[in-house]
């Protein structure tokens, strides 16, 4: 983990602690669904930036996969919410993630060439690591609805594969 990845992890952790009164463990299923939906949208946003700014074919392939997969997951999540007759609920953690993403977007859009590719890949790795930790260790154990839990378990498998893929990309770009 390099300095930037470490800083991102610390920021994420501090974000959680800053809202200790509303910790991630206390979120309802519908709030958790909102966080996951926002997390997917953020990664799709990063991928679109990569498609716009990078000329590296590997980065393009990875970004297209992120868009394809995260859109598929969100589609399933929306279908499940519709089936359950429920709506995802905005919360402190979704807002915190969006705030953090804005900073990353500002940073990514200021970079070009190899510098951009490396930073995008590193961010994808640290982002998936942080989200996977949150989903696996906090969300899944606390989700009450079995169908929502099943969807998150499937989602975790997908995001772990993304983490591996991002790891491969980081190594290749070094």
């Amino acid at each position: 983990m390099n300095l930037k990845q470490f800083a991102f992890a610390v920021t994420l952790l501090l974000s959680f602690q800053a809202f200790a009164a509303d910790s991630p463990e206390d979120l309802s299923d519908l709030e958790i669904a909102h966080v996951a939906y926002v997390a997917d949208l953020i990664d799709i946003q990063y991928a679109h930036i990569a498609l716009a700014l990078s000329t590296n074919p590997d980065v393009h392939e990875f970004a297209k996969t992120m868009i394809r997969d995260h859109e598929a997951v969100n589609e399933q999540a929306l279908a499940l919410l519709e089936k359950l007759g429920a709506e995802a609920q905005d919360n402190f953690l979704s807002q915190s993630l969006q705030k953090g993403a804005k900073e990353i977007v500002d940073e990514l859009t200021s970079l070009r060439g190899d510098e951009f590719d490396k930073r995008y890949a590193e961010n994808e790795l640290s982002y998936h690591k942080a989200v996977n930790d949150l989903v696996g260790n906090t969300f899944i154990p606390n989700i009450e609805n079995p169908e929502v839990k099943k969807l998150f378990e499937a989602g975790l498998e997908i995001f772990k594969a993304h983490e591996k893929h991002a790891e491969m990309m980081v190594k290749k770009l070094q």
């Binding site: 997969d69 499937a154 594969a161």
Partner: protein, 114 residues
């Protein structure tokens, strides 16, 4: 009359030989089989499969996200398989046997030719 009878016997003998050889050749080469490979949890199941030329391999995607089964040298490709979609490919003697998911390169598997 005798000549005609010999002709009939000869014709019958030729027909018999042809029939026996046809039956033997059918017995030697069993009908092509269909094999199913499921894509579940970012894995091809089974990840190794013994096949013979003429068999059909069908890949079915059970994951939420799209996958492919694509030969390492791109000589065969199922194309994008969305959730619950499937595609079959007929095995040929000279086909490339190792394949992967073009979207998720860590997903790998192979066929082996009998």
């Amino acid at each position: 009359m005798v000549r005609n009878s010999i002709g009939v016997y000869l014709l019958f003998a030729v027909f018999l030989i042809w029939t026996v050889s046809a039956v033997q050749s059918v017995a030697a080469e069993p009908d092509p089989s269909e094999h199913i490979i499921e894509i579940v949890g970012f894995k091809y199941i089974p990840d190794t499969l013994s096949v013979k030329a003429g068999d059909t391999v069908v890949w079915i995607n059970k994951d939420i996200v799209p996958h492919t089964a694509t030969a390492d040298d791109l000589s065969f490709d199922t194309g994008e398989l969305k959730k619950d979609e499937s595609t079959g490919i007929v095995v040929t003697k000279d086909m490339t046997l190792s394949y992967y998911c073009i979207y998720h390169p860590s997903m790998r598997a192979s066929l082996s030719l009998e």
